[in-house]
């Protein structure tokens, strides 16, 4: 696939309009990008065509084709509608309307229903077909999913998104038990409508594991893509009509992916007219949310008032403070305010997760000569066909990178390597060509060296590294026995004629053969499986675009600086596009804007963290602050993009800018700081109000602006040799459960994953129900929760609560030996 945009440009005509497109694009997407409407129900951009609805029928060069799975060709002439196609489409819509309950009045989807829309669009005002209905019962599939099969039109969008995008693979079609179609219809009705109906009568949707419950991450993306009201959120069901809700475009506050979302609000009830968030929706054709983004929306600080005494105390605290401890769940503007305080009042800034990431980025920059990595997740999703993940528990750390990893397998015929000390059956099953390599703790250096060895252009490597890599290989000879067929000539005498004849026979023979075996110390270091070389050869076949994603394990690592050097070297000497996963929501922004410190001493202000004086958006501090759904501002996400977020809910208390104003450094509004974000770090000097936040029909993201990658000074020094620091005994990994990212998600009522010890099923047998763990001298009694997708002995300890304790406990490593006592 092409690197530059203009390589494969083609021109075609759709309904007489000249459209430019990339080779390999589907007609439907070309039409959409050019503002031409082709009806389509089952197709999802970024996923494979399902061909369930057949309504996207068009005529291309005189042939009837489905625009969702026909690639545009140069010079093609497409007709979107003609009489025959219109009849076909109308028949399809009539069939969809057969036995569909006329309960639009109570249906949650009414008003935003694609079945309603297309029925009207195609002018279906009478019904020509009929069939006996079958009884279909509603079901709850999980804590969030409600399925009403009577409303389901089996477009399979839910199945498609679950397989191709999220990778949970939790849904599939199941037999409906519906009546047989009258075979005479085959001749009398339009043929696509008949084929669609025939399939429709045979299937429904059900959890793919036959238990009636979905085994998934509860991302709710199936709800988002459902064209009808068949799949709805249990919490939202029957609480509001779509048209009553006010949509506020915003940015999800929970992880570094910074997905675009809409908070949908309306008054809480008749007696309480305060706005409440009823649900979160997304542009599901262009962005996929996770469970935290979709269901973790009610984290607002609702009790805040302007408490003047508390405010006066806060001012006093700021004048006295020696340090501010905060986390990365703040806006860029707030980070800049804190940095201003540091400059003006010499207050130290403490933020462990952003600090580690900042140090990693600094080491990376001194080696690579630029501030940020070269990879881009959206590009990866489109083009990459070989992806490597190192140092991140993808399922937990960043759902969107996991979606990228999965989408590469499904859509780009890709392959993937997942290196992590904890095995993950979900990742392992994302595709045929995915290998999970469970290595020992602290072997990431060896892995990165192996990547260099495997992918680097050896001429580009510094001489010492080149030699070092050669030295890591040992060639040994090994004798293997092999069976070959040997031709043996025999003389056979024919009994009847007495003539002798020579016959050639094949006889198996075992021979000894000497072969050369290349054994690499690197492969041994990360315990590559025996057939790793063969697997890799298979994976790498016909691959053209490569990517590496690195995660938080590398930032919190005893050899973090060396790893950063290696990442920089991989980026400059291999074809791999590199991308990093910032640890928390705005860690990248904080790392770029703030000068962070390590040691903490003296009077401390905690902002959503512990401290002598606590500012808190959680409503439990000495002074209230607005949560991220109550304030305007920008966030810097892992796509290297500065994206705006808006206030969905009102906030009645003070904000950080008010404190800044009293201290004499403030601006009129918090968003006036947007323009002041440091240009030297790649930000742009633009007003908040001009930042866009949306997508256009061609899928182009118009949100905020991209950070500019800056050049930095380099100090030429090759990475150090890899070291092995083994850990023995029980090992804990600092990792949050799926859907939990921070105390804000923990506050949301639909997200209930507890603060507990997450372990593999086998480990759970050893540990029992509860364990005691000493954290910094304090005893925590933790429930043992089975995560059935984990494998191995390492346990996961979350940091979404008691985060300062947990960060202090783990220190500069994400893994730590611990002692667990059974309780």
């Amino acid at each position: 696939m092409g690197d530059t945009m203009n390589d494969n440009e083609i021109t075609l005509k759709i309904d007489g309009k000249i459209c430019k497109a990339q080779e390999g694009e589907y007609i439907l997407n070309v039409a959409r990008a050019n503002g031409i409407f082709i009806p389509a129900i089952c197709y999802l951009t970024r996923c494979s065509p399902t061909l369930a609805c057949r309504i996207c029928l068009v005529e291309a060069d005189g042939k009837r084709v489905y625009s969702c799975n026909t690639k545009a060709k140069d010079g093609m002439e497409v007709t979107v509608t003609n009489q025959e196609i219109l009849e076909e489409r109308r028949a399809i819509m009539e069939v969809y309307d057969i036995n569909h309950p006329l309960q639009c009045g109570v249906c949650d989807q009414s008003g935003s229903c694609e079945l309603q829309n297309y029925t009207l669009e195609l002018g279906v005002d009478s019904q020509s077909y009929t069939i006996a209905d079958s009884k279909r019962e509603t079901a709850n599939w999980s804590s969030v999913l409600h399925y009403d099969p009577a409303l389901c039109i089996v477009c399979e969008r839910c199945v498609t998104i679950c397989k191709d995008m999220t990778g949970d693979n939790a849904l599939s079609t199941t037999p409906r038990g519906g009546s047989e179609l009258n075979k005479e219809l085959k001749d009398s009705m339009p043929k696509d409508a008949y084929a669609m109906w025939n399939k429709l009568q045979k299937s429904l949707i059900a959890p793919s594991n036959d238990t009636g419950n979905t085994d998934c991450s509860d991302c709710g993306e199936c709800i988002a893509v459902c064209p009808t009201g068949a799949l709805v959120s249990r919490d939202f069901e029957y609480t509001s009509n779509a048209w009553e809700l006010k949509r506020t475009p915003a940015t999800c506050a929970h992880c570094s992916s910074g997905c675009q979302i809409y908070y949908e609000t309306k008054p809480t009830s008749i007696s309480n007219r305060d706005e409440k968030i009823y649900r979160v929706t997304n542009e599901w054709n262009y962005i996929t949310l996770c469970g935290a983004g979709r269901f973790g929306y009610d984290f607002e600080n609702s009790t805040a008032v302007k408490n003047q005494d508390a405010f006066a105390n806060a001012i006093r605290a700021f004048k006295e403070a020696k340090a501010i401890r905060f986390n990365s769940i703040i806006t860029n503007e707030e980070a800049l305010m804190l940095q201003t305080l540091k400059e003006k009042l010499k207050i130290k800034l403490i933020n462990p997760e952003a600090r580690a990431f900042q140090e990693f980025l600094t080491s990376y920059s001194t080696s690579s000569g630029k501030t940020l990595w070269n990879g881009n997740y959206k590009e990866m999703m489109k083009n990459t066909d070989f992806i490597i993940s190192v140092g991140s528990s993808l399922r937990n750390d960043n759902p969107n990178v996991r979606y990228v990893f999965n989408n590469i397998q499904k859509m780009n015929k890709g392959a993937g390597l997942y290196f992590h000390p904890i095995g993950d059956s979900l990742i392992a099953n994302l595709g045929k060509n995915v290998a999970c390599i469970e290595h020992k703790v602290n072997r990431e250096e060896a892995i990165l060296y192996w990547i260099l060895d495997q992918f680097a252009d050896k001429d580009k490597l510094p001489a010492d590294i080149r030699e070092y890599l050669v030295g890591l290989h040992t060639k040994t000879t090994k004798i293997v026995s092999e069976t070959v067929m040997e031709d043996v000539k025999e003389t056979v005498v024919d009994e009847t004629s007495g003539e002798s004849k020579e016959v050639t026979k094949k006889v198996p023979k075992t021979i000894q053969k000497e072969i050369e075996v290349d054994s690499s110390t690197l492969l041994e270091a990360f315990e590559a499986p025996a057939d790793f070389a063969d697997t890799l050869e298979k994976f790498l076949g016909k691959k053209e675009s490569f990517a590496l994603v690195v995660g938080e394990d590398l930032y919190f690592h005893p050899q973090a600086a060396n790893l950063a050097n290696l990442v920089a070297l991989i980026e400059s000497t291999t074809e791999l596009k590199v991308a990093m996963i910032p640890p928390k929501t705005n860690s990248l922004g904080v790392a770029l804007i703030c000068e962070l410190d390590d040691d903490i001493s003296g009077y401390t202000i905690g902002y959503n963290e512990t401290g002598d004086f606590r500012l808190s958006a959680l409503g439990d501090g000495d002074l209230d602050m607005p949560a991220l759904n109550q304030q305007e501002g920008t966030l810097t996400n892992m796509h290297k993009r500065v994206v705006p977020t808006n206030a969905a809910l009102s906030y009645d208390g003070y904000e950080l800018n008010d404190i800044m104003n009293v201290l004499g450094f403030g601006k009129r509004l918090a968003i006036d700081w947007t323009k002041a974000l440091p240009v030297k770090k790649g930000f742009k000097s633009v007003e908040f109000d001009v930042l866009p936040n949306g997508y256009t029909n061609d899928g182009v993201e118009h949100r905020g602006y991209m950070l500019e990658v800056q050049k930095t000074k380099t100090t030429a020094s090759s990475p150090a040799k890899f070291t092995i620091n083994d850990m023995s005994g029980e090992i804990a990994y600092r990792c949050n459960p799926q859907r939990q990212f921070n105390e804000f998600t923990a506050k949301a009522h639909q997200i209930f994953e507890p603060f507990a010890l997450y372990v593999s099923p086998t480990k759970a047998d050893d540990l029992g129900q509860k364990v005691a763990l000493d954290i910094n001298g304090k005893e925590f009694i933790l429930d043992v929760v089975i995560d059935d997708k984990m494998s191995g002995e390492i346990v996961k300890l979350p940091d979404f609560k008691h985060s300062s304790e947990i960060y202090a406990f783990f220190g500069k490593n994400r893994f730590k030996p611990i002692t667990l006592r059974k309780v």
Partner: protein, 209 residues
Amino acid sequence: MHEEIIHTENKPKEKQNYVMLDLGKSPEFGLPAFKQVVKRSLNGELFVGLWVTLREMAKTLFMGGKHTTKYPMEKLPISPRYRAIHNMLRLLESGHYRCIGCGLCEKICISNCIAMDTRYDENQRKEVSEYTINFGRCIYCGYCAEVCPELAIVHGGRYETASEQRASFSLFDDMLTPIDMLKQQQEFQGFGSVSPNADAAIKKTPLAY
């Protein structure tokens, strides 16, 4: 430069043909004038008109023909198309309220005075947990009744909207037909009711399987 506008006199072109009636000459003084007065006064024509008055007076006073409505003790029947305080109707068979909580009245209301809360109830149905109309803002346009797919919200005849509290009318239960009055519930004939030719106007869905 401008053109001079020449005004012509607005006079009829031909002479009008007025005809004078020959009424004779009325006497002006003396006996002839007195005679004319007596003749006209005592002719009896006066009593023709006066008789009607007397007859109606007698009817009203003695035969119970009084037309005054003793409002507010008495009220006149009102047209079914009149639009006053809303009624919420019940299903005749089950007695359950008809409202399904579709929210169309809330949406269409041009003075934005209808609000409802709905929820997923224990019977897996959409329950209207609260419903209110702000009658301080309602302009009685009748759109809510017209849009209602269930004929659940209709206009009633309660036109007296004076009260100590506006809220006195506005809750769902205040508007709902009392359950003991279910038998007396009238099918609504006014704005938004089903038209007499509704059956003929729709295309029927085939059911021949």
